[in-house]
């Protein structure tokens, strides 16, 4: 009986300690999330204001004093404007990425093929999807956050359109198929592709595998997709051959994919 009591007390003690630690970590997490929200707000407001001054006053110089400048001077001013506008795009993309991490997930039953078709309709209505052949195959019903998954599919499908822009018969496909022994969703295109040697940079924020003059972009799209599928408990992997298109496979459960 002596031993039982000792064991009982030790277990209670351990449980209490663990509970305390969980409470502490939860508190730390809550603080970190609040700091992230404050940071995102600061980025959205504080960084854009001086940017607007850069853009506005360089434009004012061009308009009001352009005739007093030579071609080089005018070129310098245009570069300042272009730089500030680019920075604005980067800031907005960063904000969008941080919002993906901050927002609460609202899980519901959904049909990914349906969401894909919706996104394709939007891309076709705009410039991005012009002339592209889209193929969507049915997928099994899934559970997830509809808003976040729409963003993920939009980024993947828009990328596919972008990198098939120079292809003769651009073709983008969405569906579900078996890979590495499990069922995965995929987005495949027959566009420019990328060099697999640099594949580990593919999902890094702001990391790009193409030059700005080859294909425009900020490199946030795939980082966002990865964050979204990871929040669902799944993962994403990419494969490609330069000139032979790219294929992105992702899951919404079952852990990370290498």
């Amino acid at each position: 009986m002596q031993t039982e009591t000792v064991t009982g007390t030790a277990t209670d003690e351990l449980n209490r300690e663990l509970e305390l630690r969980v409470a502490e970590r939860t508190q730390e997490l809550a603080v970190a999330v609040r700091e992230l929200e404050a940071f995102a707000y600061s980025v959205s407001h504080d960084l854009r204001t001086p940017l607007r001054a850069l853009d506005g006053f360089s434009q004012a110089l061009l308009e009001d004093y352009g005739d007093q400048l030579d071609e080089t001077g005018l070129d310098y001013l245009r570069r300042i404007r272009a730089g500030s506008q680019r920075m604005s795009v980067l800031i907005d993309d960063m904000l969008r990425l941080s919002r993906v991490s901050r927002s609460e997930m609202q899980l519901e039953p959904l049909d990914l093929a349906g969401i894909a078709r919706d996104v394709i309709a939007e891309l076709t209505a705009g410039d991005a999807g012009r002339g592209v052949t889209f193929v969507v195959t049915e997928t099994a019903p899934a559970t997830g956050d509809a808003r976040l998954l729409r963003i993920a599919l939009f980024n993947l499908l828009e990328n596919a359109c972008k990198f098939t822009r120079r292809t003769d018969s651009p073709r983008v496909e969405f569906g579900m198929k078996e890979k590495n022994g499990q069922m995965m969703y995929f987005v495949a295109d027959n566009g420019a592709g990328f060099d697999m040697a640099h594949a580990e940079r593919l999902f890094g924020a702001f990391q790009r595998l193409h030059r700005a003059d080859e294909f425009e972009g900020t490199g946030i799209g795939l980082a966002t997709v990865q964050r979204i599928v990871r929040r669902h408990g799944g993962g994403i992997l990419a494969e490609s051959t330069p000139g032979d298109g790219a294929r992105f496979h992702f899951t919404l459960s079952g852990g990370n994919l290498t």
């Binding site: 607007r52 506005g56 434009q59 004012a60 506008q85 904000l95």
Partner: protein, 145 residues
């Protein structure tokens, strides 16, 4: 009644907004308040649109991020006063945060416009704003004493 009250603390944004108005030949008198307290003085104290002046602005352009008294607090005071509660208020801010949108509209703002970084876009926005709020829109009648 045709003045505009621009409530903006950033001197660059003030200059750019005035420039945008000029470029678009919007000739209304623009009074500038450089923080929340100056805005309240202008409307409720001995400022350009105070009770003694007999004047009210046709349009208020309100930045949210102001020192001393916040933009939302200024809005709350405007909507809380019998003399000023009907005045058209357009929030003109850098913030795209949903919380600010919700609070702004909840407190009774008439419109919420995000200031773009690109000046051409900004000038075009001011042009459209000016055309709508100062020409097309009918301002509320002055409150009878």
């Amino acid at each position: 009644m045709s003045g505009v009250l621009l409530i903006e603390d950033n001197p660059d944004d003030v200059e750019l907004t005035l420039r945008a108005f000029r470029k678009n030949n919007i000739a209304n008198d623009i009074v500038i308040a450089r923080d929340g307290q100056e805005a309240l003085d202008a409307l409720f104290g001995d400022g350009a649109f105070g009770p003694a002046s007999g004047e009210l602005p046709s349009l208020l352009l309100l930045d949210l991020n102001l020192p001393r008294v916040s933009g939302l607090e200024v809005l709350r005071r405007i909507r809380g006063d019998q003399r000023t509660r009907l005045l058209p208020v357009v929030i003109l801010t850098s913030s795209d945060e949903e919380q600010d949108l919700i609070e702004g509209y909840s407190l009774g703002a008439n419109s919420y416009v995000r200031k773009p970084v690109d000046f051409a876009e900004f000038a075009e926005g001011i042009r459209v704003l000016g055309l709508y709020w100062l020409v097309l829109n009918r301002a509320p009648p002055p409150v009878k004493a």
